[in-house]
Subunit: 497 residues, 2 copies
C-alpha cells in the first residue's frame, strides 16, 4: 500500500517556547539541536515571529535579524517559516504598504522561506499586501484562517474564506487554532470542505494542545486530506503548547499515512531540549490541560490579563462578571476571533464595562475596532455601540482597508532610526524600530554587549537541587560553629527553635 | 441524528493516583468529590485494586475494606469497579480456588460491582476461576486482554483471546493498555475484529497517556464500536496517567457519539482534585510524555526498577546493555506482556544476564516463568533456556493450570491470621493477611490509631511557597544580628560567602 506522506512543521524554535516559557529561549540553547532538526525530514521549521522578535530585543539583547541569519546557516536544507501578522507585520498597528514590502524583502534576504500570513479579524484585505509581497520575492505565501467558535462562524464561512485566500494567490492554507478550540469533527469538516471545493490546495493545520483534544483533531484533519500538521518535540510539548512530534509519528504508524521523519534524530532533538527546559522553569505556566475555554470562549492568556487588570483596580473578585461580559462585547464587535490584538481589546473593554457601566467609557482601541479601523469582522457590529464609539472617539466609521488611510512612512522611519544611538544604518534596524519603537532604542544602545540569556546556568540549577534536597532532609540536631568576635573565639551551637 | 452513547469509567479514585502519585491518596482527599462523581453519569467508577489495597495498609494505616464500604455509601448510584489480577487476587502468587471465591464474595458483600479480571500472561486459565466466582455472586465479570506488541501478538490473536473470554462467561471485555502502546490503527482493528466476529459484546478500552497518542486510540476504538472508555478527570490526568475526561467529552462533540456526562459536575470534580494534587507533589513523576517505549518495549516503571538494581550493584552505566537484553529475555520466555509481575521477573533476569553472563544465574521467579508456574504465554519458550531452568531450579516444567497444584489453604490462612495482634476475627482480615503477609501484621497492630495521611497539610504547602518566594528574592547584602555571648552583646554582620 502506498502511504500518503504527511508533512510536519516543527514548532520548537518559535511557538513552543513562546507558549511554554514566555518566549525566553536564547539562541545559544537552540544551536545544538539545529543539525538534527535540519536532517529530521520536516516540511518546515518555524523559527521566527512577533513574540520571538520582541523577546530578543526586550529580554535577551539579541538581534533578531542575526538570529534569523544564524538559523539560515545552521538549517541549510530546511524551509524556514515565520508567522506574520499581515499589515501589522510583527507590531501592533497597521503599516503603510511600502513598510510591509520592505519587511518581506529583508526577511527573505536574511533567509525566510515560508510566510504564514494571518489577520486577527480574518479580514483578507489585511493579508493581501503581505501575501503579494511574499510572492513578489519568490517565497511561499501561506494564507491563514484563524479558527474560532461563534454564532456567525460556520464551516461554510471558513470554506469561503479559504477561497478568498486562494484568489489572493495563497500557495497553501493554514488552519490556525490558537486557543485549542478546534474539535475533531469541525477539523474534519473544514479540511474536507476546502479540498472538495477547491481541489488539491495544500492545507497546514496548527493546533495548540491546551484542551487536550487536538491531537485527535489533527488525526481527523489528516483523514480529511490535510497535508502538513504542526507539532513540537515532546520535551517542549503539551500544556498551552502543542502536540508532541513523536506522538504524531506513533499515531500514524500502521495507518495509510506516514511522516517519513527520522526517529533517531527526533530523539536527539528531544534530549537536547529536555536539558534546556529546566533552565527556564520560572517562566513556565502550570496549566497542563484546561477545557474551560469550550464554555467560556476565553483563551487562558486573555483571562490572566483581565484578572490582573481587575486586581490592579482592587476588584479581583469580579472576574466572573467580566467573564460573563466578554461574549456580549465580542458579539457587539461582530464576533472577532480572540487573538492578539483583538483578545486584549475585547477583554479590556469587558473589564471597563463591569467596573464603570456598559460602554460608559470606551478604550480608544475598542472604539477603533467598532469603527472599522482594524478591519472587518464576519459578524455585523452592533449599530448602537457603533454610535457610542463615534461619539466618544469623535471619529467616523471607515469601510476601506485600514492601511489605505496611511500616508507613505518609510522615509520618516529611516530618519527616526538614524537619530538613535547604536543604529547600524541597516534597513533591518529601521524595521526593528518601526515595529517596536518602545524597545528598540534601548536595544540598539546596548547591542554591542552581546546576548544575555535569562536562563539558569547548570551551576544554579545544581545549587537549587542541592538546596531542595537539603530542605527535605532538614536540620534535626544542633550545628556547631566557631565564631570569632573581637578577637576571641567562641563555640556556638545553633538548633531549630 | 441519534447519537451512540459512549460510557465512561472514571479512574481518579484508583489508577489515576496510582499512576501519578504512587497510590498515596488518602480517603479523606476523595470523600469531598464523591457526590459529584456519583451524579456525573459515569458508566462505572474504578476505586479499588492491588496497589490501592497495598498502599492503604503499608502507608496510610487505612483499612482497605472500610474504604470500599465508604465508597459504597458515598456512591450509591454508581457501579463500583475494581482491577483483579485473576488467580493472584491482589497479591503476588497464585491462590487456591477457595481463597479466590472468598475474596470475590467478601468484596461483593462490601459493595463491589464490576470486576475487571486480568492475567499478566493473558492465560485464560488464570482468569477462569475468578470470573466464575464473580458470576456466582451475580456481579459483572469483565474479561481482560492485556495489550502488548511482539512478533507473536497479532490482531487475530487478540480476537481469538476475546472469544475465549466470552466462552468463559465474560459479560464485557476490557482492552487494557497499561503501557500506552495501543496505537490508533490496532485499537480500531482489534475492536472492529471482536465486534465483527462475536456480535455486540460490550468492549471497554483502558489506555494510559504516557506516549501522548492514546486519546486518538480511544477515538478510533469508538469509531470501531467500543462501548466504554476509561479516563481521569483533567486535574488528575496525563503523563503516566490517563487521558482527561473533559477532553474526551470535547472530542466527541459534533460527532455521532456522546458521553451524556454532566459537565458542571465534571468541573467540580476537577476543582476538587486540583486542590488535592499539590499535597502529594513529592510522590509525582516528572514524565509528561515519553514515546521511547515504542522502540524499547520497556514500560517506564520497569526501566526505573532496573536502573536502581544496577546502581545497587555499582553498575549504573550498563543500563543500555540491559535495555538491549530485555527483548532477548522476553522472547526466550515466550513474549509475555510486560506488566506486574512479568515485568519485574523479565527485568531482573536481564540485569542478572548482563552482570553475570546470560542465564549463568537465574532468579527463582524467572525459572518458574520458564517452567510454566505462572501459566502459558502466547509464544513458545526457548527450549534451551527451559533446560537451564530445570537444572538450576531442580523442578520439572508443568502444563496444568498453576493453581491446580495448590492444596486447600483457607483454613490455614484463618489460623495464621488469628494469631496476629489486632486481628478483628473477620474473613476480610484473613484475606488481607493472605495477600500481604509482609505488611498486614504491622497494620493490624496499628489499625486502632486510625488513618495517617502522607499528604502535605495546607499549612505546610503555604510555608513551602513562602520559603520558595524567599529563596527567589535571595539575600544580597549583609544581615546584622545582635548576638549575646557570655553576657556581652556583639553586633555581627553575616553575608553570603
Amino acid at each position: 500500500m502506498t502511504k500518503r506522506k504527511i508533512g510536519v512543521t516543527e514548532l520548537v524554535l518559535r511557538d513552543a517556547h513562546q507558549s511554554l516559557m514566555a518566549t525566553r529561549m536564547a539562541m545559544e540553547d537552540m544551536v545544538g539541536a539545529c543539525e538534527d532538526i535540519d536532517q529530521a525530514g520536516y516540511w518546515s521549521v518555524e523559527c521566527w515571529g512577533g513574540a520571538t522578535f520582541d523577546a530578543c530585543i526586550r529580554f535577551l539583547n539579541e538581534d533578531p535579524w542575526k538570529r534569523l541569519r544564524t538559523f539560515r546557516e545552521l538549517l541549510p536544507n530546511s524551509r524556514l517559516q515565520m508567522l506574520l501578522r499581515g499589515q501589522n507585520l510583527l507590531g501592533y498597528r497597521h503599516y503603510e504598504d511600502m513598510v510591509v514590502e520592505k519587511f518581506v524583502e529583508k526577511s527573505a534576504e536574511n533567509g525566510m522561506d515560508v510566510y504564514r500570513v494571518f489577520d486577527a479579524l480574518n479580514d483578507p484585505r489585511n493579508m493581501a499586501r503581505a501575501m503579494a509581497a511574499v510572492k513578489a520575492v519568490g517565497k511561499h505565501a501561506q494564507g491563514t484562517i484563524c479558527y474560532t467558535v461563534s454564532p456567525v462562524h460556520t464551516v461554510d464561512g471558513y470554506i469561503k474564506l479559504a477561497g478568498q485566500l486562494i484568489d489572493m494567490g495563497a500557495e497553501s492554507l493554514a488552519l490556525k487554532d490558537m486557543a485549542a478550540l478546534l474539535q475533531p469533527q469541525p477539523a474534519y469538516d473544514i479540511v474536507k470542505g476546502i479540498k472538495d471545493t477547491y481541489g488539491d490546495i495544500q492545507i497546514n493545520v496548527h493546533c495548540h494542545s491546551t484542551t487536550g483534544v487536538t491531537l485527535v483533531s489533527l488525526m481527523k484533519a489528516i483523514e480529511a486530506g490535510a497535508d502538513v500538521v504542526d507539532t513540537a518535540i515532546s520535551s517542549m510539548s503539551l500544556g498551552p503548547g502543542h502536540n508532541p512530534t513523536e506522538s504524531l509519528v506513533a499515531m500514524l504508524e500502521g495507518t495509510g499515512y506516514e511522516t517519513g521523519l527520522d526517529m533517531e534524530r527526533l530523539l536527539r532533538i528531544r534530549d537536547h531540549f529536555a536539558e534546556v527546559r529546566p533552565k527556564y522553569k520560572e517562566f513556565e505556566s502550570a496549566t497542563l490541560v484546561d477545557t474551560d475555554i469550550f464554555s467560556s470562549q476565553i483563551p487562558g492568556g486573555m483571562l490572566s490579563n483581565m484578572e490582573s487588570q481587575l486586581k490592579a483596580q482592587g476588584a479581583g473578585d469580579r472576574i466572573r462578571e467580566v467573564m460573563a461580559e466578554v461574549p456580549k462585547v465580542k458579539a457587539d464587535a461582530g464576533h472577532p476571533p480572540l487573538v492578539t490584538p483583538s483578545s486584549q481589546i475585547v477583554g479590556t473593554q469587558a473589564v471597563f464595562n463591569v467596573l464603570m457601566g456598559r460602554y460608559k467609557v470606551m478604550t480608544g482601541e475598542f472604539a477603533d475596532l467598532m469603527l472599522g479601523y482594524y478591519g472587518e469582522c464576519l459578524g455585523e457590529r452592533n449599530p448602537e455601540v457603533v454610535e457610542l464609539a463615534k461619539a466618544q472617539a469623535k471619529k467616523e466609521p471607515i469601510e476601506v482597508r485600514p492601511a489605505d488611510l496611511l500616508k507613505p512612512e518609510w522615509d520618516g522611519l529611516v530618519t527616526t532610526a538614524s537619530t538613535l544611538d547604536g543604529y547600524d544604518g541597516s534597513e533591518e534596524d529601521v524595521l526593528t524600530n518601526a515595529m517596536f519603537p518602545g524597545v528598540a532604542p534601548k536595544f540598539f544602545a546596548a547591542r554591542a554587549e552581546g546576548p544575555k540569556s535569562v536562563a539558569k546556568t547548570p551551576a544554579q540549577l545544581a545549587a537549587e537541587q542541592a538546596k531542595a534536597a537539603g530542605n527535605q532532609t532538614g536540620i534535626t540536631g544542633p550545628v556547631q560553629y566557631n565564631v570569632t568576635i573581637a578577637g576571641r573565639s567562641h563555640s556556638v551551637a545553633v538548633e531549630p527553635a
